[in-house]
Amino acid sequence: MLSWLDTIIQGVLLGGLYALFAAGLSLIFGIMRLVNLAHGDLIILAAYILLSLTASWGIALVPAVAIAALALFAFGFALQYFVFNRTLRIGILPPLIVTFGLSIVIQNGLLEAYSADSRRLSAGALETASFSIEGALNIGVMPLLTFASAVLAICALNILFYRTSIGRAFRATSDDPEIVQLMGVDNRRIYALAMGVAMVVATIAALFLGLRATFDPTVGPARLLYAFEAVIIGGLGSLWGTLAGGVVIGVAQTIGAKINPEWQVLAGHLAFLGVLMIWPRGLFPRAID
């Protein structure tokens, strides 16, 4: 009984990591219906940037995250403004192809730059620290920190989305990208801003990815798939839904792994397909596609 509780707690915490992967994706998908197939690779790119800043340049982890977040904000803004914006509103195919192409380019670029070796970020003793409840449930500090960051990131995005003027522009653009232009909103700039914000969240995701597990240039697509599953289960445009989706995938994976270690990933995918069979639009859809 206690071991099942343990499994579920681990699953929820793992779900936090997936929600963190998915939060940026959820934001841009909700605002501009852009399916960014390169999101997983962009997270890996951010992880390598963090690695370079800390390991090669000797910058401490916290300022390194700040520098990487700024750099990726600028990169995301430019990417959206100059590339992705050209693909929107001419059907679903062009953005898919362009982001798919970008995904291949980033993966192989990283392979050239950093080789195929598995790497990880280091945070000293914090990596393995854990505490126990009642002597039976062991909870790692790092997974808990990941989950807390996911909740914080989603809170922050929600405040940005619902309490600020930029957020109002985001929501308006999400609802009708043509009408907002009549109100003096430049939707191309709004889209670019949203992508920049998504990249900042991706940097945080990269931090926890790198601290919790090893990564190499090719793991992006698998992360992307979990993230997408979280977004879709959660429902279009709902950030809390994305967290719920991440938790569903995380719990399904840990339960699957408990039954048979080889079933971890499979269980997550099956849970995703199962949820969609019942709720094709996800659990908490905010916007209409």
Binding site: L93, V98, I104, V105, G109, E112, L225, V265, L273
Partner: protein, 414 residues
């Protein structure tokens, strides 16, 4: 949106009635409205026959086309191509007699990529079903080949056909899952399904589990057909297998092009082209979108499964990661279609030649080659979304596989 399309269809009808016009409508909706005088014959197909009962929204009646016109499909380039295709085909069939083994193997690659590209193009370019999970069917077909030849002792040739049919059968329940999703969700859903297939096959210990397995020599080199090819060309068994693979690949690629062309020329094709241009307008003109898309999904799964079986007959070694590789069987295929020109039959043919050229010259550069390929796909999509063939066709008015029904005046214009 719908209203506008309908108006333009009517406008096209009116234009066509004016004397001195040689071209009919440009929109496929209009072609549905005019170009199909036989659509009331009651054949049960994707495009519903148009009812004329008063309760339904009254559809555009087929105009009585004055006797001074005729509807034509063929273009001069098409006639030249038909003329050239027979000697070309004969040449390709006879090629193993004088070409080297390495070249034959490369052509097999070209042919199976071409077949996969045509299927993906039919799926995404016409039916609007942008799948990034076609590797599910390639891998399934491949694994079926292994299961059927090793466990059931089938001849590999027969096994390839059966693998295709079974893949088509499996595609039906798959479709019922992924068809609940639309647009981007569909793309992700198909990918997840492919991952499920990969993970499930990695669990099947009889098929080698996660590490995979090889085809036994008895299947790859010692069948009756390979022995007769050996005798005919006086070559070793492995070369005989290459020649057999080459012929199957040639038949598959050629058959695929013919299949796609005749599907598109049929009333289903008209429905497909209408769906490609506008989902809603097609539906409003009486096309049963769901049924058409379901058929396309199943047929392309069948073809991809057969191609997958062929690919792994050539490779003779399978593993879940390779057979269900998203890069090899979907990403590269998408690049071929997009670079060549999506939504045309000529596009994938041109695309596969470009792809082959790039691969033979640049594959040694490893990841740089893939970076180039990705960049090329992005560039083409941003600047010439209709691909290289779209560019050529627009510039020179060249159509090798004509699909449009054009109205020709019998008397020359004065």
């Amino acid at each position: 949106m719908i209203v506008r399309t309908r108006l333009s269809a009517w406008f096209a009808v009116l234009r066509a009635r004016l004397p001195g016009r040689t071209r009919l409508a440009d929109t496929d909706a209009a072609r549905i409205a005019i170009g199909r005088p036989d659509s009331d014959r009651g054949r049960s197909c994707g495009a519903k026959s148009r009812r004329t009962d008063e309760t339904a929204v009254r559809p555009q009646p087929a105009p009585d086309i004055a006797s001074g016109y005729r509807v034509a499909v063929a273009t001069p380039a098409w006639r030249y191509m038909i003329g050239a295709s027979a000697p070309l085909l004969a040449f390709l069939i006879a090629l193993p007699a004088f070409a080297g083994r390495g070249f034959i193997q490369e052509l097999v690659f070209v042919f199976y990529m071409l077949a996969l590209a045509q299927y993906w193009n039919l799926l995404a370019g016409y039916a609007g079903l942008v799948s990034i999970g076609q590797q599910a069917f390639v891998g399934l077909g491949a694994y079926l080949l292994f299961a059927l030849t090793i466990s059931a002792g089938l001849d590999p040739l027969l096994a390839i056909v059966v693998a295709g049919l079974v893949t088509g059968l499996v595609a039906l329940p798959t479709a019922l899952v992924v068809f609940r999703l639309r647009g981007a969700y569909f793309a992700i859903g198909t990918w997840v399904v492919a991952e499920v297939f990969r993970l499930v096959f990695a669990q099947v210990k009889q098929l080698g589990g996660g590490t995979g397995m090889s085809l036994p020599i008895s299947v790859t080199n010692q069948t009756a057909i390979i022995k007769s090819i050996q005798a005919l060309f006086n070559v070793k068994a492995s070369a005989g297998r290459d020649i057999l693979t080459y012929w199957i690949a040639l038949a598959l690629a050629g058959g695929t092009i013919l299949l796609v062309y005749f599907v598109l020329r049929s009333r289903h094709g008209l429905a497909l082209a209408a769906i490609r241009d506008s989902d809603e307008a097609a539906e409003s003109l009486g096309v049963d979108n769901f049924k058409v898309k379901l058929w396309v999904y199943i047929v392309t799964a069948m073809g991809s499964g057969m191609t997958g079986a062929l690919i792994y007959f050539q490779k003779a070694r399978i593993s879940p990661d390779a057979a269900f590789s998203v890069l090899d069987w979907t990403a590269n295929v998408i690049f071929v279609v997009v670079i060549g020109g999506i939504g045309t039959i000529e596009g994938p043919i041109l695309g596969v030649l470009v792809f082959y050229f790039l691969q033979t010259n640049l594959a040694n550069f490893g990841s740089w080659y893939l970076i180039l390929l990705g960049t090329l796909a992005i560039t083409v999509m941003l600047f010439t979304p209709r691909g290289l063939w779209g560019f050529i066709a627009e510039r020179y008015g060249l159509v090798l596989f004509p699909l449009r029904r054009r109205l020709i005046t019998k008397e020359p214009d004065r």
